[in-house]
Symmetry: C2
């Protein structure tokens, strides 16, 4: 049980990929459908994992190190997608098909506890995204999946990527709140450490299936976390919503 005064919290900001949505299942499913329609055989699970881990995660880190100029996630995803198509020997896609597939990240589906938990939380707190995904991606995803955000905030507004402290500070300022009035919710401890570095509150939600059956994130509770909840319904309960 963490010591923590719930009454100070006015807003919750949510990491999205992995925390809110199950990116892996949706990406694999759409790639498999493409493969069937086009008669292409490939290891689509590995394609999805490479797109996410070697591609997105390392690409945003390269932007942070100054090795790539600022680009939003739609752009980064597309650059990596084009490279992976070559690596996996996928041919015969026209530009409209490539653009559509690159936007699979706009169509990701939430974990089963998310919509119900957010609806409860929204009655009591202001709910926002705070994702490395760009505003258009997050807005289209919310509209497609029915995610009930009060507003859409993104690293794009700070033109750098989490866990850069500037991302969290820009979000808190735009919400017109103090850092300790805002709780960051994420399935990734590095994200929560970034939020904590500017004084935000932190809630960890384990998503042990985010990376599929093999790769495992460390989902253990930690003394520095303000809150640990097994899913969004338990988060709502622990926050009195």
């Amino acid at each position: 049980m963490h010591k923590f005064d719930v009454s100070s919290i006015k807003a919750l900001t949510f990491d999205v990929f992995g925390t809110v949505v199950d990116w892996r299942s949706t990406v694999i499913q759409e790639m498999e459908q493409l493969g069937e329609a086009k008669g292409i055989k490939a290891d689509w699970s590995r394609f999805a994992d490479d797109w996410r881990i070697k591609g997105y995660i390392s690409a945003t880190a390269r932007v942070q190190r100054g090795e790539l100029p600022w680009m939003n996630v739609d752009r980064l995803h597309r650059i990596m997608f084009d490279e992976l198509l070559i690596e996996f020997g996928v041919t015969g896609l026209d530009e409209a098909e490539k653009d559509h597939l690159n936007r699979v990240w706009h169509r990701l589906k939430p974990w089963s506890d998310v919509i119900g938990g957010l609806k409860r939380l929204r009655k009591q707190y202001l709910l926002s995204t705070l994702s490395n995904g760009n505003i258009a991606l997050l807005t289209n995803m919310a509209k497609n999946a029915g995610l009930p955000w009060d507003c859409i905030l993104s690293s794009e507004l700070a033109r750098c990527y989490k866990p850069d402290p500037l991302v969290y500070q820009v979000a808190v300022d735009l919400l017109g709140l103090l850092p300790n009035q805002v709780m960051m919710v994420a399935a990734h401890k590095g994200d929560l450490q970034g939020a904590r570095s500017i004084g935000m509150k932190t809630a960890f939600i384990p998503r042990p299936l985010e990376y599929g059956p093999v790769l495992k994130e460390n989902t253990a509770d930690e003394p520095w976390l303000d809150l640990y909840a097994t899913d969004f319904n338990e988060l709502a309960k622990k926050l009195g919503a």
Copy 2:
């Protein structure tokens, strides 16, 4: 009847003060309640009009001319509010009361056609604010009034004020769209001229009561407008929603 291809439009961006919400009635009502509770007599209609017209409109223009540093609308409202309290001889408010009253702009109520019209439009289009009001103000207003936006965009993200073309360009870029895929909806022709200058589509909604019974905005149709609708329900109808 304007010539105009509806099928190109993907998103609508809305001016808020005057176009979506009836700022004057809400501000006057809260000031009157304050006056009664505190036993203060003043011309609250004139207070509201001065806060809006001499204050907000001229203050954002001063920021645009470089006579004031960048400040968001919550800050500008508060500076003007403190000046008006002196001018109108209102005394006896503590800091919490002043802060609460300054946030009356977060609690404005929509015109009667707005919620119904937006709900229809949202089924077919992405709906966003594009207001000089800051993100926190617009988010709190939406939550309070039940305005069903898909995302909250503001001049604050460009750190300059409408009708600076940069505000519209930043919004279109964040939506991941081209200017001619986005329609600006406003009750003010200067706002629509700013949007049009970067290639956005324009819809004018007359709000003849925005400034009360005396001051009248020019609400006539113009050949350069892409669409003219008497309210949000007619806007939905004309956009096939």
